[in-house]
């Protein structure tokens, strides 16, 4: 019998505040696509860093093809045949694909050889990459392919992928899966880190579930349901969302002809954005990040008050040039995607953080009454089940999910006419995500208009009544969620919608690829 490719036993890693891994066992067979499933903070990243040699465990042993090994550094891991593709790319934008790959290799190899090898590997695994193109001209999916090709050039026996689909359109995800299956058939083991249940069930042969740093399950994902997997992952099933109401009111937000040149050189120009949000409905905006979401949010929230006259109307009033505080008084509230440092000041207490958007408790001349601040914070903590050290706890002492509950709660509690939420459950554990989504639906049922921007399509399909797609600073026509399909939205995400821009045509096929 061949020994397992990788076997970890009794892995333990203690950080000052948390026990990240506790007695973790993991067994990966040759040619196996092995999922590691867990919520944010379950210890997945720490475990991968241990395998890749970036972090040393406090206890436990590691066997590689039956031999006991100690991986002291990522370089040592690569020597063994372990490659890792991180969630965030590490590519130089101004260099070409081949140059980027070349950087990580020995100096003795010629650039032309590298380009040829890239062509071979790309062809063998169906990863279309043109070695001569500068990286900045590539789409996100193409950049990820470059990262994978770079990892494959070393002929790894184990490939680690950390949340690889978070930046991909559904079509690109399908393509990635084809490649990964082909790799596994060739005998490469794959460790696939994710919290997306559907993907794991579609792709992986085996699944190890982590919760709170410990292994809580070893299952065959193809035989599990989403519900049973999520039970293993969070210890409970997420609460089912209530049926949607279909009462729809007057138009609360009307955006018309909103064009804005970028402020930041790396930003996106908004081009002729137009849509409306009615009272009692949730409109979702889908799109791959970096397609103008940030810029649109800034123009709507008032952080960027340069909108053309008449392009942003709130209940018939032109608010496009008003500051955030004035828009808030008119009933427009906003939850930004960054919690720490934007939605809340990390070092200030929860009570003080209510002051960012809630000024109702202020006395004459802007007098701050600490008692009233604290009572507002206590009310939010109770109503939205925020686990914290009380109203005086610093915002940064809360977990991501609890802080998000607090921030979303702070805005919901203000009884807005229009609530704009960016990434409502980004990096939030499943329990908190369910609570937040439930609260958003309840707010809609109470007659508020909601605009939700998210990169998670599942979430948008679950929450929204109508969907829009933003691509390259343009917005698609709206489609009722009942008529939308993942395929269609996926196509729109690459700009293929009426009035959108098609993606830039790929360069002609390089001649050498034909021979490879």
């Amino acid at each position: 019998m061949t020994p397992p490719r990788l076997e970890l036993s009794g892995i333990r890693k203690q950080y000052p505040a948390v026990l990240a891994n506790d007695d973790v066992h993991l067994r990966v067979l040759p040619g196996q696509i092995h999922a590691v499933l867990g919520e944010n903070g379950a210890g997945k990243s720490t475990l991968m860093k241990i395998i890749y040699g970036a972090v040393q465990p406090d206890a436990g042993s590691m066997q590689w093809n039956g031999q006991a090994v100690q991986v002291k550094s990522p370089a040592a891991a690569r020597q063994l045949g372990i490659s890792m593709v991180y969630q965030h790319f590490s590519l130089f934008e101004t260099l070409t694909v081949a140059e980027n790959v070349w950087l990580g290799l020995e100096r003795s190899i010629k650039l032309a050889q590298v380009a040829a090898r890239i062509g071979e590997v790309a062809h063998a695994y169906g990863l279309e990459v043109d070695a001569r193109r500068p990286v900045h001209t590539l789409s996100v999916g193409e950049k990820q392919r470059v990262e994978i090709v770079r990892a494959l050039l070393t002929d790894p026996q184990l490939l680690i992928l950390d949340e690889p689909t978070s930046v991909l359109t559904p079509q690109a995800v399908e393509k990635l899966f084809v490649t990964l299956r082909r790799l596994a058939e060739g005998g490469t083991s794959i460790l696939y880190i994710s919290h997306k249940l559907d993907e794991i069930r579609a792709l992986c042969h085996h699944c190890t579930v982590l919760r709170g740093g410990r292994v809580t399950g070893e299952v065959d994902p193809t035989r599990e349901s989403n519900a049973s997997l999520s039970r293993l992952m969070i210890g409970a099933e997420p609460a089912a969302l209530r049926a949607r109401a279909d009462t729809q009111g007057a138009e609360v937000l009307v955006v018309k002809g909103l064009s804005l040149p970028r402020q930041d050189p790396f930003g996106v120009d908004l081009v002729d954005i137009g849509f409306a949000v009615r009272a009692g409905e949730i409109v979702g905006i889908a799109g791959v990040s970096g397609n103008g979401q940030q810029e649109l949010m800034a123009a709507l929230s008032g952080e960027d008050p340069r909108a053309p006259v008449g392009s942003v109307m709130l209940q018939g009033r032109d608010v496009g040039r008003q500051r955030p505080a004035r828009r808030r008084r008119a009933g427009l509230h906003f939850v930004p995607e960054e919690r720490l440092g934007r939605g809340a000041v990390p070092t200030l207490s929860l009570a003080q953080n209510t002051l960012l958007t809630r000024t109702g408790s202020l006395g004459i001349g802007g007098w701050i009454a600490p008692r009233r601040l604290r009572s507002l914070a206590v009310k939010l903590i109770e109503r939205f089940q925020v686990k914290s050290g009380g109203p005086d706890a610093a915002a940064r002492s809360l977990s991501g999910g609890n802080l998000q509950k607090f921030i979303v709660g702070r805005e919901i509690d203000a009884r807005p006419r229009l609530l704009i939420v960016a990434q409502p459950t980004w990096g939030v554990d499943v329990g908190a995500a369910a609570l937040i989504r439930g609260e958003l639906l309840a707010l809609r049922d109470a007659g508020c208009a909601l605009l939700v921007v998210s990169e998670e399509l599942d979430e948008l399909f679950e929450l929204s009544d109508r969907l829009l797609v933003i691509a390259k600073g343009r917005i698609s026509p709206s489609v009722p969620v009942a008529e939308a399909t993942v395929e269609r939205i996926g196509e729109w995400m690459s700009g293929l919608f009426p009035g959108g821009t098609a993606p830039t045509p790929p360069l002609p096929e390089p001649a050498e690829r034909a021979h490879a």
Partner: protein
């Protein structure tokens, strides 16, 4: 082996203890220094820590030194909390002194209708002078994004040269034997003293009022809150809709005004005339005062008193023990160094030996 390990939560106890620890380290290094210089360390320490508080007279002198430090440091604390790095308080102090001096020179022995009210006019002039100098910094920063650290520092030298020009030129006392100084201001412009024969004056009371006012502004007023959010998390300030320009102007005007007030108090208090020696470094020492006082109004009072003891102790050590005057600066610098080092302990704990879990 000594190792630093991050704490899960910053330690509250140590954030209060750290200034005391820093003082202890400063004293220890001081003792070593005196011993190396061949002086009696105990006697030297006495100069710094006993003599300045020994008598009512000594305390009065202490208050004269501490008053400008408190006033300037209050304004700086506000700036630093707003992430505006005004390090040119010395220049704003000098401009305050010049403006105050100009009004005092106009007064004459019997000011037309103001009477003793001229003192208030002089103090207001000082505030406006300091504000004007700080406003230049704010304007250049807002219009041209000019770095406020450089601009405010450079303006210190402009202010000092302006003062020199005035006292060497147009404002020179014609009967002053060509010394670079203005006439001694008329008695009516003098800041009232707290007791006869003591130099302590109402300036100290004004400073304490400003301490209370700054505390209220920082911790009880929405404007003060908005200012500090801008310093702590600029994106959160943008999200909340607090204007960055507003924070820049508010903090610089308040800080310039307070430094100018300190300059005016110094001019019509202990000095009584303008000379090229008006700037003695209060504006720079106040930076240390502000940080040692934890950018907190009450903490600033304590640290200003401590710094004043160093000033007076340094002079005494020079006159009575023949130690160099530079010692004052050495002590002040040591204290800030030690404080910054001790602050590490707020976020980290020291561990001895190797990693607990290492194999």
């Amino acid at each position: 082996m000594l190792r630093l390990e991050p704490r899960p939560q910053p330690s509250r106890a140590l954030s209060l203890l750290s200034p005391l620890l820093a003082l202890a380290v400063t004293v220890a290094v001081g003792v070593l220094l005196f011993a190396l210089l061949g002086k009696d360390p105990l006697r030297a320490l006495q100069m710094f820590f006993v003599e300045p508080v020994k008598s009512l007279y000594a305390l009065s002198e202490l208050s004269v030194k501490a008053t400008p430090l408190v006033l300037i440091a209050l304004g700086l604390a506000l700036c630093f909390r707003a992430n505006v790095w005004n390090i040119g308080a010395e220049g704003q102090f000098v401009l305050g002194a010049i403006a105050a001096g100009w009004v005092a020179l106009q007064a004459g022995p019997e000011p037309a209708w103001l009477g003793r009210g001229i003192v208030i006019a002089i103090l207001v002039a000082g505030v406006l002078g300091g504000m004007l100098w700080a406003a230049i910094v704010a304007l250049l920063r807002e219009r041209f994004n000019a770095n406020e650290i450089l601009v405010s520092l450079m303006l210190v030298y402009v202010a000092i040269l302006l003062l020199s020009y005035l006292v060497y030129g147009p404002w020179k006392d014609p009967k002053g034997y060509n010394f670079p100084q203005t006439i001694v201001f008329d008695a009516v412009t003098k800041l009232p003293r707290l007791a006869p024969r003591l130099r302590a004056n109402v300036g100290s009371l004004i400073a304490l009022l400003c301490v209370a006012a700054t505390w209220v502004f920082m911790f009880r007023l929405y404007r003060g809150f908005a200012l500090q959010v801008g310093g702590l998390a600029p994106l959160a300030a943008r999200y909340a809709g607090f204007s960055a320009g507003g924070a820049l102007w508010t903090s610089l005007l308040i800080s310039g005004g307070l430094a100018g007030l300190a300059g005016a108090i110094e001019t019509i208090g202990p000095l009584g005339q303008l000379t090229p020696h008006v700037p003695v470094g209060y504006g720079f020492a106040a930076i240390i005062v502000a940080f040692v006082g934890r950018l907190h109004p009450v903490g600033i009072v304590f640290s200003a008193v401590l710094m004043s003891m160093f000033y007076i102790g340094g002079e005494l050590a020079q006159s009575r023990m023949g130690l160099p005057k530079a010692l004052t600066g050495v002590f002040q610098g040591l204290l800030l160094f030690a404080l910054l080092a001790c602050d590490t302990l707020i976020h980290y704990r020291v561990r001895f030996g190797a990693d607990r879990f290492a194999r």
